[in-house]
Symmetry: C2
């Protein structure tokens, strides 16, 4: 029996991932998909799930326990977050790191005023990676921490290439450098430059007659995005890009190397890693677990904005605490 | 300035690890070491730290915020836990998995009755590994989970060898099998037998004239401990054992391999691993972080027994929530 009724705002890759993830959790039920597009153009392929215009969301206040906001951080969430937090409990994946404190304050105020609870910046980074950075730092205060991302597609870098004259389409992979990871794992505590941690591998489809050398040069010297990295550029046909580079894998590593003992003579390594076939589906799976937690928090009267640091792990599952102690401790 | 005053009960490897870990946390201060041994035979090598007989612990109720119980799970903690939970907030590493539910009930009742808070079964397994099993299972409900231990010294297995006639001393390493880990990491979701997951490597010093073949045979056929595993036996001199096998390394891997998507077509791997030079010092570092959390819980009036599933991560550090959001999210 489904105890927690949820809605999805935004039906892109992340929204579709949430729809699939909800099906794997029998205590959750998807009530509706809320979209800015004309509702008759959106087919969610699932019986019993309504497609609703976002403007009509307020009519669903009594029917939905938690709304999962699946828009992007650049322009969608700064507007959708506060708007929905005034009406519903929410979960979002706001990931513009520099703006998180400001977003938190805004969401916290609105959610609290309206007696709602909002989990912000949920996913894997921010999210599971943040939890591991925090936990490892608390356990090993004397130490050094490293985050590596990839191998995975970076939308921001792919978009930057697509804006170059003569480029039709592009996919950019961020690749962590194995030698650097090995040094960290061995407890060497290396100082690593940007270039030593990641390299960038680009697959590009060009317009007919465009100048390959000029495009490659423009990519490799692009400040902030590529100039600081070792970058490889591969020109491919549109068919090859579609066939071999349309998946959305990602992942990465959070490693803390710390020293313990009277003379810090013992090295201790804590490592958390992800290897994901589908970045949006994994992020969606994390959002869904936190939807459960946020519903419970709200039921208990804990309102306002919450992050992964504030929510005990036991809230993420529908198992009883007694079962958790028996089966997983 | 130290805000949290702690005590250590039991001054073995774990207790000494706690003493060293407290020094890495400026908001904690070690007040006393409580021992069953004659107090004048225990030298803690630290100014300002008292050595006290456990029988006098009740005199310190107003001077200590959290007592870290550093005894063993077989005979010490079942007695010490309830006794100290009646007087102090406590943190312990009770790790007899099968008896945790019963121990929890007992500790919860006594701590609650006395207005105290007790973190039980803290460390890495149970502890950090349990957290990762729970978190990964909540995020990827459709999947399979694996725990590998080692390479590390198993005290239980080393003791079992020492009980054999003709054996003077022994160290046993539990070693995870790389091929099995690789299969799991690749998302193959293998069914693994006991023998396929770990092997056992033994270093043994024998009495003069003892029969090597007989001892090796006795080890390799010992039910529950070795018979189910591939076991290698190495005979060494006492000097070599002392020189090369007296460290206490350990570690291991918790890996969940899950499937997401409408047709479970995408594989997602979550992995948490530890590589520890010193098992007791690392366990001690985890206990100390939870001492901080338990103090805060008690200040807030949250009494009774708690596990790693009940405590939000933000309680493990002395950073403010605003700083955590800014720096680590």
């Amino acid at each position: 029996m489904a105890e927690i009724k949820v809605g999805i705002v935004g039906y892109g890759n992340l929204g579709k991932g949430v729809q699939a993830a909800v099906k794997q959790n029998s205590d959750l039920e998807l009530v509706g998909v809320f979209t800015r597009r004309p509702v008759d153009t959106v087919n969610v392929n699932e019986e019993g799930v309504e497609v609703v215009n976002v403007a009509d969301a307020k009519d669903y206040v009594d029917q939905i326990d938690v709304m999962l906001l699946c828009g992007g951080s650049a322009t969608d969430l700064p507007v959708q977050g506060p708007k929905f937090a005034a009406m519903f409990n929410t979960v979002d994946s706001f990931d513009t790191h520099a703006k998180i404190p400001e977003y938190y304050e805004q969401m916290n105020e609105i959610a609290e005023e309206n007696g709602n609870t909002s989990a912000i910046s949920i996913g894997w980074d921010p999210g599971l990676f943040s939890m591991n950075r925090m936990l490892a730092g608390a356990v090993l205060p004397e130490g050094k921490e490293y985050t590596f991302w990839g191998r995975g597609v970076s939308q921001g870098h792919s978009d930057a290439i697509r804006r170059i004259d003569g480029v039709k389409d592009a996919v950019q992979y961020t690749i962590p450098i194995d030698e650097a990871i090995e040094k960290v794992r061995e407890g060497q505590n290396p100082e690593l430059t940007t270039k030593e941690k990641h390299l960038r591998d680009c697959y590009i489809v060009i317009e007919e007659g465009a100048d390959k050398d000029k495009i490659a040069e423009e990519i490799k010297t692009m400040p902030n995005y590529f100039a600081e990295y070792k970058t490889t550029v591969n020109f491919v046909m549109a068919e090859e890009l579609a066939e071999k580079h349309s998946a959305m894998p990602h992942g990465g590593f959070v490693i803390r190397s710390g020293q313990t003992g009277e003379d810090k003579e013992n090295n201790q390594i804590i490592e958390f890693s992800l290897k994901l076939d589908s970045n949006p589906e994994f992020t969606a799976s994390v959002l869904v677990a936190y939807a459960r937690a946020i519903h419970c928090f709200n039921q208990e009267g804990q309102t306002g904005a919450k992050t992964v640091f504030d929510i005990p792990l036991s809230y993420l599952t529908n198992k009883s605490s007694a079962d958790l102690r028996k089966e997983l401790l």
